[in-house]
Amino acid sequence: MIALLDLSRSFDAGHGRDVITTRALGPLTLSVPDLQFVAVVGRSGSGKTTLLRLIAGLIKPSSGDILVDGRPVTGPGPDRAVVFQQSALYPWRTVEANVRLGLELSRLVSRQEAREIAGRYLALVGLTEFARHYPHQLSGGMQQRVGLARALAVSPAHLLMDEPFGSLDAILRRELGGELLRIWEQKRRTVIFVTHSVEEALMLADRVVVLRHGRIVRDLPVELPRPRDPEAVVEELNFMQLRRELLELL
């Protein structure tokens, strides 16, 4: 479980003699039970990336607590893998070596095992034949799939996704969303998925949290049947109602 208690985060900016403190997030309280797929939606500047980076342990809160599985977060760790907005692949590593990266750096398994696991996750995202390619030889969508495989390869209990498909075109976005859903159906885990797209949030998540100016303005369950077909789900009456409601909030 991920629990955020009175969490807030501010950033300081120097302006001549003044220091201007901007509160980017909070204070907010939120609890995400295990295996739940939560989408965090908000416009840019609403604090959603800050929220994700706090849970990932990449930045520290200004006040409040973050508990992951009952323990306070003190820094990043492979129990919370992150899929970044830019795929952030290492250009000097082959696709296979990129997928292996997390296993290698976190020293979870032996080198031999890491290779085997990387191979299996490459197959999972359908890129086995590109194992020896370098990232710049792949399309944007393929790069994001490698980023996803890299995060999944460490078998994280929680998956944090920061607008992972934000830079892709609408069709590819829906396609990868569908792929993510299929993977998640088979290997359930907690997912916190940050996006500015209401449709994407509704298509994927069990629950949508709306952020505005760093605060939660709505926390809404998505009662759509699973497994979901990304093509069909958008046609449902419930989907359209929820979408209208969310768009008004943003």
């Binding site: 323990r71 990043p76 760790g77 992150v82 750096l105 999972l124 995202v125 792929e179």
Partner: protein
């Protein structure tokens, strides 16, 4: 960090993307390189320039100019007598010693400055100041401190290029993409792995730029030292032959210096390509 068990992934569900592998023959690869239109044009340009040079050179007085054919003949003489080889060896020794020390020291200090923020910020203004000092201005001081021998020349070469290399390595470490670092941190990377597997490969492009720019400055340092005070090596060949108006011999030495530069750069580029295969 939580205790983790690595689970097996679900079965293949995504449609695999298709690739096709073709192996190029040795001949095809060679043809790709040689038959480029640019190569032909380069060759034509070279022929035209050499032709014009020959034409003008054979009309000018022997004291002021030399056509390519006379330069080649002079080179033959100088190789036969052995003076070109010994001058070249002499020059290369100072160049290589100075450059290798500068590369090792510059990269090491540059990395250290990038890795330990306090060290970097402390040294930054001093390094920046030294970088803009025209090193040639320090040569009289070098002579007083280190004499006229090899040590002095090596130090001049070193000083000419070390700051270029150092600042490139430093800039490389400072400019590693923050996302690249974030990714490593989310996996709980150790300090040693961060340096070895993340920062080092990420900074290689910067480092090689520094080394290549450093190499050309090292060459300048070498020739300046040889002409200004040590009077040895290729610099000596240029000076003594200029004094007797042997233009052909002056040009042989000058072209040799140019060739060293071209070769050194080519070698560095070769290493760069080898180390950074992923860029192609």
């Amino acid at each position: 960090m939580t205790e983790q068990r690595v689970e097996s992934p679900p079965t293949l569900i995504a449609a695999p993307a298709r690739t096709e592998t073709r192996r190029l023959s040795q001949r095809a690869r060679l043809l790709r390189r040689v038959s480029a239109r640019e190569r032909t044009l380069q060759l034509a340009l070279l022929v035209v320039v050499l032709g014009l040079w020959e034409w003008f050179g054979s009309r000018a007085s022997n004291f002021s100019f030399a056509p390519p054919t006379r330069i080649v003949a002079a080179a033959g003489d100088m190789i036969e007598s052995g003076e070109l080889q010994s001058a070249l060896a002499d020059s290369l020794l100072a160049l290589m010693l100075g450059f290798v020390f500068a590369a090792a020291g510059g990269v090491a200090v540059g990395y250290a400055m990038g890795w330990w923020r306090t060290l970097g910020r402390t040294l930054d203004p001093f390094v920046a100041a030294l970088y803009v000092v025209p090193m040639a201005a320090l040569i009289p001081a070098m002579i007083v401190w280190f004499g006229l021998g090899l040590a002095s020349r090596v130090i001049v070469v070193f000083l000419f290029c070390v700051f270029e290399i150092l600042l490139s390595a430093y800039a490389g470490v400072k400019n590693v993409d923050p996302y690249v670092l974030d990714v490593a941190r989310t996996f709980g990377v150790t300090r040693a792995d961060l340096l070895r597997k993340v920062v080092f490969p990420a900074t290689l492009p910067f480092m090689f730029v520094g080394l290549r720019m450093g190499a050309s400055r090292a060459l300048k340092g070498m020739i300046v030292a040889e002409m200004l005070f040590a009077v040895t090596g290729l610099g000596r060949l240029i000076i003594i032959n200029a004094q007797t108006f042997r233009m052909d011999r002056v040009l042989v030495a000058a072209i040799t210096v140019a060739l060293i530069g071209v070769l050194l750069t080519a070698v560095l580029q070769g290493i760069e390509r080898r180390v950074m295969r992923w860029r192609e």
